[in-house]
Subunit: 405 residues, 2 copies
């Protein structure tokens, strides 16, 4: 593969023509809360409502559309546990081309179903995406199929770059664009699309702190492989930048910052509760960067919500975690004497304190209790941290023994 | 109050001018899944991303903006547990006018905080919205403030009608518009905005089956008061149509259908998982109608997602319920002999069955168990109903005693 160290703007414009009837021009939503935080306009570029639920369809489609008819006749193959799988599957199907996708055995069931739903053959291979990658490349060589890399190809980068053209039309006075970085295709593409821009317009990439290969790579001047911890932002957990994307990010992206798991979780909740947008953890990384690095972000800002494919169970956990962090959700165990009326008394006291009781589990017999004791596990909704503390203090003051749930 | 039985299109156009710098022209999203269901294009009009999280700001702002300066100087007063409270609070604040909102004591904490955040005085009054309504009207008379009705006023209806003008521009060939109906302001306004339309274009209103006052009212030819059961769609739980909105709905709306709680819950989940939009239960009513009454809905369809203000805890419950209904989430109790290794054996067997174990609660001592038994409560993710049934059969076949969780 040749690795040009620049992408021509004309390439991105031509990619946009290819995508005109395929990808959606996604909406740009104003975020009042983030605008107040930064003291200037902040907009969210909603690639979570893109077809297949993420921006990946753009690059995958451009890549496959630019294959020769003979290449397409041999089919395409990819490896992915997530959005790239769906992007390749749909793109191939729209272009009348057979797609085979290698997925790890533990891949989320809805993503497997979606990839198959777009008509791709799914082959399960081992527990990791890395293993699938090797298997997919071997399969491509054996069968003469074309391996579709998730990021490290000029056509893929040009496809993702169309987001940059769109957001410039939607927000011509933008000063900062923030995009999540895994392999770097999205940020490289947007950076290239904005290459002719006023140098005051900054492009900032965002990685999860737990697995951030770009900062050490940029420092070393070459792609460095790192091993990182697990992150909830699995969509950007990539251990090494691509050769091409590293060059392009070095050239076109002004900084790559990192964000904590807690910021990602808070950002995801903010997107849900305030912007009413379902995003996956990687999709919330741009907003997390605004929360964590606001000093470095000059408005008007466009943060790309890169995808919305989150497992419903994870979403449910993030919601409850977010409420607990905000002090609005309190889980506490409380011991009672095991006699009639003890629970009613406790519940009346909670009502007087203005607490909403969401769930009560009453355990009459448990090994850790004395014979005359019972214990209730309470899930409570409060007005916030102060109210939660007040509730705990008041119950203890009334003689209840409490332990955290 | 005078009750004209029509709303002039010019009134709605002028309302739109008033709202130009205030309300957002909300996006129209194409829904692939619903389009496939109906065999023609279905779009979602995203009032969930409107300012204050619902369409209510439109009507409230137009109503308050059309007061005289003297009236505005006396302040406005409203009663609401939800979206109308936030709409009136923001509208009043933008127009430099004092707002007092009566809310029931059990109102959701985020909605109280939002209403106060827009600068309104909140007065808690009794447990019900009905009680608040009487109190707000009495307060208005005492203080000379203007009572802002949530739906039964021409300016409010004209404000909501601006959605009709917008969606006609966004989807000129629409054949069916579907909107939730509580008091009827939204459907009346949209119907009036489409009054000059081709008669083939239908407007369909949707109520929650558990509290649906419009169908018996339309049958009786006058607003009828009903008592209904509780519905998760609290935003449209209104026991009696307004005088004005009843007239307008009779004239401009082609049918009012009802939907079950289960359809609302499924529709909400579809909006989340597929359209990536957070909606409140009432906001999902239009989509629920497509699921439940597809035979009556001719595409192209625009379904209005009227609001997105859902309590995060309710959202979390709907997610888990939806997974359970889809057969992808299985909660089951399983008895084990209480000896080392019994749990490991069970978990290995589940892994072999391709089940994802989300949560295990291991109870060694409980009153209902024999002394040599232990019980685990399992939360499992499966591939769907068939897989769930298969898992249960296989575990029973291996001699485990199972009870549903």
């Amino acid at each position: 593969m040749t690795t040009p160290s620049s992408i021509d703007l004309a390439e991105i414009r031509s990619a946009r023509e290819l995508l005109r009837e395929v990808a959606v021009d996604t909406p740009l939503l104003h975020s009042r809360l983030l605008s107040e935080t930064l003291g200037g306009p902040v907009y969210l570029k909603c690639e979570n409502v893109q077809r297949t639920g993420s921006f990946k369809i753009r690059g995958a489609y451009v890549r496959i559309a630019r294959l020769t008819a003979q290449e397409r006749a041999c089919g395409v193959v990819a490896a992915s546990a997530g959005n790239h799988a769906q992007g390749v599957a749909l793109a191939a199907s729209l272009l009348g081309c057979k797609a085979t996708v290698f997925m790890p055995e533990g891949a989320p069931l809805p993503k497997i179903a979606a990839t198959r739903g777009y008509g791709a053959d799914v082959i399960f291979h081992g527990p990791t995406v890395d293993g699938c990658l090797t298997a997919a490349q071997a399969y491509a060589e054996e069968r003469g199929a074309v391996y579709i890399h998730p990021f490290d190809h000029p056509d893929v980068v040009a496809g993702q770059g169309t987001i940059g053209l769109e957001l410039l039309e939607q927000c011509p006075d933008v000063r900062t664009v923030i995009a999540a970085v895994g392999g770097g295709g999205l940020a490289a593409g947007i950076g290239a699309a904005l290459a002719d821009r006023d140098p005051k317009v900054k492009v900032i990439g965002v990685q999860a702190k737990r697995i951030a290969a770009f900062p050490p790579s940029l420092a070393a001047g070459r792609p460095v492989r790192i091993t990182g911890g697990p992150t909830m932002a699995d969509g950007i957990a990539v251990g090494q930048p691509g050769r091409l994307t590293f060059e392009l990010v070095s050239r076109y992206v002004d900084a790559v910052v990192t964000v904590s798991e807690e910021s990602i979780s808070q950002a995801l909740l903010l997107c849900l509760e305030r912007a009413k947008q379902v995003v996956e953890p990687a999709g919330a990384a741009g907003v997390a960067a605004i929360l964590e690095h606001s000093y470095a972000v000059e408005p008007p800002v466009v943060a790309v919500l890169s995808g919305g494919n989150i497992d419903p169970l994870l979403l449910s956990k993030v919601l409850r975690h977010g409420l607990a962090v905000a002090g609005r959700y309190l889980v506490v165990r409380c011991r009672l004497t095991d006699r009639p009326g003890a629970l009613v008394t406790l519940l009346s006291e909670l009502a007087e304190l203005g607490v909403n009781v969401l769930d009560v589990t009453h355990e009459r017999v448990a090994a850790r209790l004395h014979i005359e004791e019972a214990e209730v596990l309470l899930h409570l909704e409060t007005r916030g941290p102060d109210h939660s503390q007040d509730v705990l203090d008041r119950l203890r003051g009334k003689g209840y023994t409490l332990t955290s749930g």
